[in-house]
Symmetry: C2
Subunit: 174 residues, 2 copies
């Protein structure tokens, strides 16, 4: 495996499980199995490393949302939390940890959330055959809520959100 890939994977794991600020670079060199010299050659800085973790995560997450129906969005989220666990949204968390004061991170988060919103708008439009910005906002709230409620309510939160979305969609179709 490529060293940059190995580093990014190790960083994502540690930042996600223990927090961005709480993870020191020495713990990262150990987890990535490389010297700090090599780490900095590939990472640039801690903030740049986090930004790369986020854009990599955006790629993986958004790939799962390439679906045709709203219900499939929630099915995709169910798969995601089964694989990744329920620790909330790494994007919002990393931005909050840094108070929005780290440009690389703030930009990666803004890009992801814009894409996320756009995808939902598209899927809702495809399912209804027309634009419905309010319904899209409600689906976004349900997805965001499922992600964060699952932290302490478990996977039931996701299936409850899924059922709620089905009701809202059905109502909007008739």
């Amino acid at each position: 495996m490529d060293l940059t890939t190995k580093l990014t994977a190790a960083a994502e794991r540690l930042f996600d499980r223990h927090g961005y600020m709480a993870t020191g670079m020495d713990r990262l060199t150990e987890a990535a199995g490389m010297s700090s010299r090599t780490l900095y050659k590939h990472a640039g800085s801690k903030a740049q490393l986090m930004a790369r973790v986020l854009s990599e995560r955006d790629r993986r997450f958004m790939a799962r949302l390439e679906v045709q129906t709203v219900d499939a969005l929630f099915a995709a989220l169910e798969d995601w939390v089964r694989v990744e666990g329920t620790r909330g949204c790494l994007f919002l968390r990393s931005r909050a940890e840094t108070g929005g004061d780290t440009p690389e991170i703030a930009e990666a988060v803004a890009a992801h959330k814009a894409a996320f919103h756009q995808r939902i708008v598209e899927v809702v439009a495809a399912e209804l055959g027309r634009q419905d910005p309010v319904l899209a906002e409600q689906v976004l709230v349900l997805l965001e809520g499922a992600t964060h409620a699952a932290i302490y309510r478990g996977a039931d939160a996701v299936s409850a959100a899924r059922a709620a979305a089905a009701i809202l969609i059905e109502r909007a179709q008739s």
Copy 2:
């Protein structure tokens, strides 16, 4: 104003705006307007201070949720974000920042989220005249989702969630 109160208020402001880990104790002494000796007499430690911030916030937040209807829960959240801003849930954020490894914080968060869930169950039961655990879970997801979506979608997220909840309630009543 009491020194302990002043300290707790200053700590809540800084922890919420800049993050728990990112806020140093020197910034806290300056914001609270007291020496570090006095600060530590009242705070105990940084983690204990955060725990006190959280239980104080729990008191203020839960007081606003002493309502009779689900719609009033969302009205209360609208008021809350108008006053406190949209930076997400400080409880979930502080637990994530510490990886759940700081017992005082983890316990304060668990206590708050249990009370939050319980309150929703009660309000849903009062409105329907019967228990409905799934609907309660959906309302919880909508409240949690509104809180987090509002970070980047603004207050519209809360009113969208409010409208969605109204539909779910209406459907459950008939």
